[in-house]
């Protein structure tokens, strides 16, 4: 289990997938560069146009805190910490039989945070031949928990019974 600074928590706990993690890391770099190069106005513009509404809101809450007002050093440390935390996230590879909806990603993300913790993010792939369930890869381990495999196993186990029913 990784240790995440409290100040970073509102930002990183909303990261659900590997793509979101990579995007957020880029956004943090862009915000940091804009803040120190182009000033507050340009920073606000990037915040409202580049980040999602949820992420932008969380960022405004954090940057509105007293310790960040007129303290560029604290801001620099904050961006640095967020990027470090994102680098430590571990992906859970799930190959599923459908294209996932936002609702499905939310529900899977909830399951991951509840069962595996905040440091694990989803890496979702698609393969229609598995019919349902998921092929799971985590920390170098693999498990076939697909509907296709379940049907094959069941038919193999119950072959005699099934063939008897057909005859």
């Amino acid at each position: 289990m990784i240790t995440i600074p409290d100040i970073c928590m509102p930002i990183v706990r909303n990261v659900r997938t590997k793509e979101e993690r990579d995007m957020l890391a880029e956004e943090m770099s862009e915000l940091e560069a804009t803040l120190f190069r182009s000033g507050q106005e340009a920073f606000e513009k990037v915040l409202s146009t580049r980040l999602s509404e949820r992420m932008a809101s969380a960022m405004r809450d954090i940057l509105g805190r007293q310790e960040f007002k007129n303290n560029s050093e604290n801001l620099r440390i904050f961006f640095h910490d967020v990027k470090n935390v994102l680098d430590t996230f571990v992906p859970l590879r799930l190959t599923i039989a459908v294209k996932p909806s936002e609702e499905m990603i939310d529900r899977l993300h909830e399951w991951v945070q509840k069962n595996l913790g905040i440091g694990v993010i989803l890496d979702i792939g698609y393969d229609g031949s598995i019919r349902g369930g998921a092929r799971i890869i985590f920390n170098g381990r693999y498990r076939e928990m697909t509907l296709a495999q379940m049907i094959t196993d069941t038919l193999a186990k119950e072959k005699t019974t099934v063939m008897g029913m057909i005859k």
Binding site: M104, L108, R131, G132, I151, L155, M163
Partner: protein, 260 residues
């Protein structure tokens, strides 16, 4: 000069003149030296005379020797000439003798050849006569032998023909028996093979039937598998899919898949 030199009076006068000139012991020494010189000169003169006489004698001897050598050479040449003439004469004589001997030998050789030819002709005639006589005897004996052989051959052929006929009858009988045995054996083998073939075919049919049934079962199973997967995959809603994924994750967790 020499006689005047050996003249004692001259020496005395010389000595006296010298003595009158040189005083005392020095004069004595001078006298001695003069004496030695005179003696030496004297001795030298004697040797010269003796040597001259010896050389003259040597010269005379040398001339005589050359003359003797010349005479010996002439003698030797005369001897060699005589020897050459003698040898030529001998060779000539020997050649003539050899010609005579050769002529005589040719005559003897021709005579011998004539004798030998005659002897061979006589011997040949005699042998021809003898062989002709023997040939007639042989023809007679040969005819008798042929007659005898004909009779013997006829007898043997009769016996052999009889024996062969007997053997052939026996062989035909044996062959008939062998054929009968073989036919019986072949019939048995054929029956056995037919029986085995029938059983083998039955087994093959049975195996084929079983194998075909297995293929059919496999095909049915495959179709069932495909149909089940296709139907189940299609009939599942997104909600069902979601539930199945959550179910898979829960099951994996229960199996300890996420534990490090």
């Amino acid at each position: 000069m020499l006689s005047s030199f050996f003249d004692i009076n001259f020496i005395k006068s010389l000595i006296s003149s010298s003595v009158s000139v040189i005083p005392g012991s020095l004069a004595l020494l001078f006298l001695m030296v003069i004496t030695i010189v005179v003696i030496n000169v004297f001795l030298l003169a004697i040797f010269g005379l003796v040597g001259a006489a010896f050389l003259r004698r040597m010269h005379i001897a040398s001339g005589s020797l050359e003359q003797q050598k010349q005479q010996a050479h002439e003698k030797a040449e005369a001897l060699l000439e005589n020897a050459r003439k003698e040898s030529l004469r001998l060779v000539d004589g020997a050649g003539k003798k050899a010609g005579e001997v050769l002529a005589q030998t040719q005559v003897v050789k021709e005579a011998l050849e004539a004798q030998l030819t005659r002897a061979i002709q006589e011997f040949s005639q005699k042998e021809t006569d003898r062989v002709g006589h023997i040939g007639e005897e042989l023809v007679i004996a040969y005819r008798a032998m042929i007659e005898s052989s004909k009779q013997q051959y006829s007898d043997v052929a009769g016996a052999v023909t009889k024996e062969m006929a007997s053997d052939a009858q026996r062989s035909i009988k044996q062959f008939g028996e062998f054929l009968k045995d073989q036919t019986t054996h072949y019939e048995g083998t054929l029956k056995q093979q037919a029986q085995e073939g029938f059983m083998s075919a039955q087994k093959e049919i049975s195996d084929y039937k079983r194998e075909s049934l297995r293929h059919v079962e496999d095909a049915i199973y495959l179709i069932l598998n495909l149909v089940a997967k296709s139907v189940l995959g299609k009939v599942l809603s997104l909600e069902d899919q979601q539930d199945l994924i959550i179910h898979a994750l829960n099951e994996a967790k229960q199996q300890g898949f996420f534990e490090v």
